[in-house]
């Protein structure tokens, strides 16, 4: 197992994703002799996990069952332990494409936070790219570094514990792309420019408030960035349902030739459709993209 390469069977030391039900998954660090409690009972790693193919159904002690899935950045995003607010897959997908990330890209990111986006970046830039990520909170920086090692992607990433607004990214002239998710991104725009390749590159800043976006855009203009573009992507999930719509009873049909036809009492039409969830996330953040021209 690795977050950047598939393997078929679960091995000791892997991180597997246990799929309990829709919207309920948990990460499990596989260890010989260990066991994991779930609401369906116990999973014994040595027999239930190790050596089994990913995607297997595992019957737990109480007779319930779960599926064990190969980790992906997308599953990790819904399973990871939150230390901060995180970016979700919808925004991550947009960021990845608009930053033009691909194998070999050199990327700078700040802050690292819980590492949700970091894993997606690493997946995309492997095997030849590199991620320089900056997190000013020491504990978080250490924790995420641990996770990268556990997930076998630490060779692709450098975590720096410093303040990006004061000290920058710790690299200059190397990045193809920059991502900022910090409270005052405008203070880091200069450092971002310095970290980018002379030949140019792409930048993205994620901010929840429009005032942050305005200051960032102004800073980007001042630093000579081009193609400045702010957008927002919202996910809509459609629940597939069979609905049944009753037909009203209009009473006996008087036109029929004297014969009184009794209409069926509880007639209804059923159809397959989708319903939107009662509440959906209406806003995550504005994504501001820009291109650094060649300097």
């Amino acid at each position: 197992m690795s977050f950047v390469e598939y393997s078929d069977c679960i091995q000791d030391g892997d991180v597997a994703i246990v799929y309990l039900s829709h919207n309920s998954v948990m990460p499990v660090k596989v260890q010989q002799g260990a066991q994991t409690q779930t609401r369906y009972g116990v999973i014994r790693h040595s027999t239930d996990l190790i050596g089994q193919p990913y995607g297997s159904k595992v019957t737990c002690s109480k007779g319930g069952w779960v599926y064990v899935l190969h980790p992906t950045p997308e599953l990790w995003t819904v399973a990871l332990p939150h230390r901060t607010q995180i970016l979700y897959t919808t925004d991550i997908a947009t960021i990845t494409m608009m930053l033009e990330l691909k194998p070999g890209s050199i990327v700078c990111e700040s802050g690292t936070g819980s590492g949700s986006l970091s894993h997606a970046i690493l997946r995309t830039i492997a095997p030849t790219g590199h991620l320089h990520t900056v997190e000013f909170h020491q504990q978080r920086a250490e924790k995420v570094q641990e996770e990268f090692a556990e997930h076998r992607v630490d060779h692709l990433v450098t975590v720096r514990n410093q303040d990006v607004c004061k000290d920058g990214f710790g690299v200059t002239g190397v990045a193809d792309a920059i991502f900022l998710d910090i409270p005052s991104p405008w203070e880091a725009v200069g450092h971002a420019k310095a970290a980018m390749k002379r030949q140019g590159g792409r930048l993205c800043s994620f901010s929840p408030c429009i005032e942050q976006v305005q200051r960032t855009c102004q800073a980007l203009v001042d630093q000579g960035f081009e193609e400045i573009n702010t957008l927002e992507v919202l996910l809509r999930i459609h629940d597939v349902r069979t609905v049944s719509l009753p037909l009203p009873d209009f009473g006996p049909d008087c036109r029929s030739d004297g014969v009184e036809e009794t209409s069926p009492n509880y007639a209804a039409v059923s159809l397959k459709t989708t319903t939107p969830p009662r509440e959906i996330p209406g806003h995550t953040g504005y994504l501001t993209f820009a291109t650094k021209p060649r300097t």
């Binding site: 950047v4 390469e5 598939y6 078929d8 799929y19 829709h22 309920s24 002799g33 066991q35 409690q37 609401r39 009972g41 040595s46 027999t47 193919p53 995607g55 297997s56 159904k57 002690s61 599926y67 899935l69 992906t72 950045p73 997308e74 897959t89 991550i92 997908a93 947009t94 990845t96 494409m97 608009m98 033009e100 691909k102 194998p103 070999g104 997946r123 995309t124 492997a126 095997p127 030849t128 002379r198 030949q199 976006v213 855009c217 102004q218 702010t230 957008l231 927002e232 992507v233 919202l234 809509r236 999930i237 459609h238 597939v240 397959k272 459709t273 989708t274 291109t291 021209p293 060649r294």
Partner: protein, 464 residues
């Protein structure tokens, strides 16, 4: 000064590039002396060769491109005069003193866009009374119309996806770029994986997947009809080795492959037939020609006639030989793709086509390993509802999700920040999920000797 890191950033002969003006894109190849028409203007790309990508060029007379000098910043008019509101601005249709003919004359004189705009401003009686914002808007609008510049970009998934969506949405089943972005992520496309693709989006989806794989791993394109469509892939301008990772397999042989009845060692019978037909046609043609002029034929000497016959024979044979080689190549390719599929251990499946997705999905899912993601795009939600229902009935998948995304752009300017336009509905729908092992009776009572005894017999049910 030689710049070592720059070679890959320079425009070269034969490169596939994207032209840009404003929000309009067009993909072209750099071919010597080829006339390009873009946004109602024609020009040649010869001069662009050797320049750096992302350079903006001015189009001068004769369609020659000149790299633009440092961009003049600021407004053409540095008038700081502006009105506060529009209470006194009357639309009498006479505010512009220049007539259409005047403007045409200015254009013919070869005046630069910037200069024409300046003239328009000077001859507008209401410009000074407009608010600062209205002036800005006026200039932007005129710039869009009169500026004759073009920027040459290196193609990327981002640019091509935006280009196709803007120019030819019909060709890509109205797949909006943010939806494509979701697909690439939900399918966990990355280097060193084996991905199955079925698309009728001009090759845009295929190309995007190849870009994300960076030439590592393999992509198998399942294609309908006579051959795969890859115009969009060309536009990416991938290095040659990327194409070594690309395989193709005709969808019409999928049933045979699944049944284990596909014989890739024998020649493709339909292709064989075509070969024979083609050979027949050629045979008939010369005869027909000969029949057309019997007198002429008689007048010729026999020797010349024989000579001609031999040459024709030779040509025909060479052509047949060529075809045979091509067929052999095709057969080898088919065998290679079949070998990749036979393991039924693909790492991902992406479907985006004008065909009904349900049978495509149900069939191609069989080639996926367990615990692998798949994504189906459809312009219509109803088809995906059907897919969802079928998958639920059949089992073998988890994490099913039917979704779409809204994309909203913002204008961010001092005191003028607001959403630009709402795009909804048109971006298409996605059904995504993960494969799992199909239900099978598990071997009863697995060995648990090496496990420590459960700490507690009763496990508390924790909610959520």
């Amino acid at each position: 000064m030689a710049d070592n890191g720059d070679e890959e950033y320079r425009i070269q002969q034969g490169d596939y590039v994207v032209l840009k003006r404003g929000d309009i894109f067009k993909a072209v190849q750099i071919v010597p002396k080829k006339k390009i028409i873009f946004e109602k203007q024609w020009f040649f790309l010869d001069n662009a060769v050797g320049n750096l990508y992302s350079t903006t060029f001015e189009i001068s007379s004769g369609g020659i491109l000149q790299p633009q000098k440092l961009k003049e910043t600021g407004n053409p008019s540095d008038l700081k005069e502006a009105g506060t509101d529009n209470r006194n601005i009357v639309d009498d249709g006479k505010s512009q003193k220049l007539t259409r003919d005047d403007i045409e004359t200015l254009k013919e004189q070869g005046l630069k866009g910037q200069e024409i705009i300046q003239q328009l401003i000077e001859n507008s009686s209401t410009f000074r009374d407009k608010t600062e914002y209205a002036q800005d808007k006026y200039i932007k609008k005129k710039k869009k119309k009169y500026e004759n510049t073009v920027t040459i970009l290196k193609p990327s998934c981002r640019i091509l996806a935006m280009m196709y969506h803007g120019r030819e949405p019909g060709k890509i089943c109205h797949l909006r770029y943010d939806t494509l972005a979701q697909m690439l992520t939900l399918a966990n496309i990355h280097a060193h994986s084996k991905v199955l693709v079925f698309e009728t989006c001009a090759g845009l989806v295929l190309g995007s997947i190849m870009e994300r794989m960076g030439g590592y791993g393999s992509v198998i394109q399942m294609y309908p009809g006579g051959g795969p469509v890859r115009a969009g892939v060309e536009s990416f301008g991938f290095p040659a080795h990327f194409h070594d990772t690309l395989h193709e397999f005709p969808i019409c042989h999928v049933n045979a492959l699944l049944a284990g009845e596909l014989d890739t060692t024998a020649k493709d019978p339909t292709a064989e037939e075509k070969l024979n037909l083609a050979a027949d046609e050629e045979q008939i043609q010369p005869e027909a020609e000969q029949q057309g002029s019997p007198e002429e034929q008689n007048m010729e000497t026999n020797a010349a006639q024989d000579q001609e016959k031999i040459e024709k024979e030779k040509r025909r044979e060479a052509k047949a030989q060529e075809r045979k080689v091509k067929l052999e190549e095709k057969r080898k390719k088919l065998a290679a793709a079949a070998a990749l599929l036979e393991g039924r251990n693909a790492d991902g499946l992406v479907i985006a086509s004008r065909f009904h997705p349900c049978p495509v999905l149900m069939t191609l899912l069989k080639f996926l390993a367990p615990s692998r993601p798949f994504v189906v795009y459809s312009q219509y939600k109803e088809t995906l509802i059907e897919c969802y229902t079928k998958l639920k009935e059949q089992g073998g998948t988890v994490n099913l999700r039917l979704s779409d995304t809204w994309l909203r752009h913002y204008q961010v300017l001092p005191n003028r920040t607001h959403p630009v336009l709402l795009m909804s509905g048109g971006g298409g729908y996605l059904l995504s999920g993960t494969t799992v092992a199909m239900d099978q009776s598990k071997p009863a009572a697995s060995q648990r000797s090496e496990e420590p005894a459960p700490k507690r017999q009763k496990v508390k049910d924790t909610e959520g």
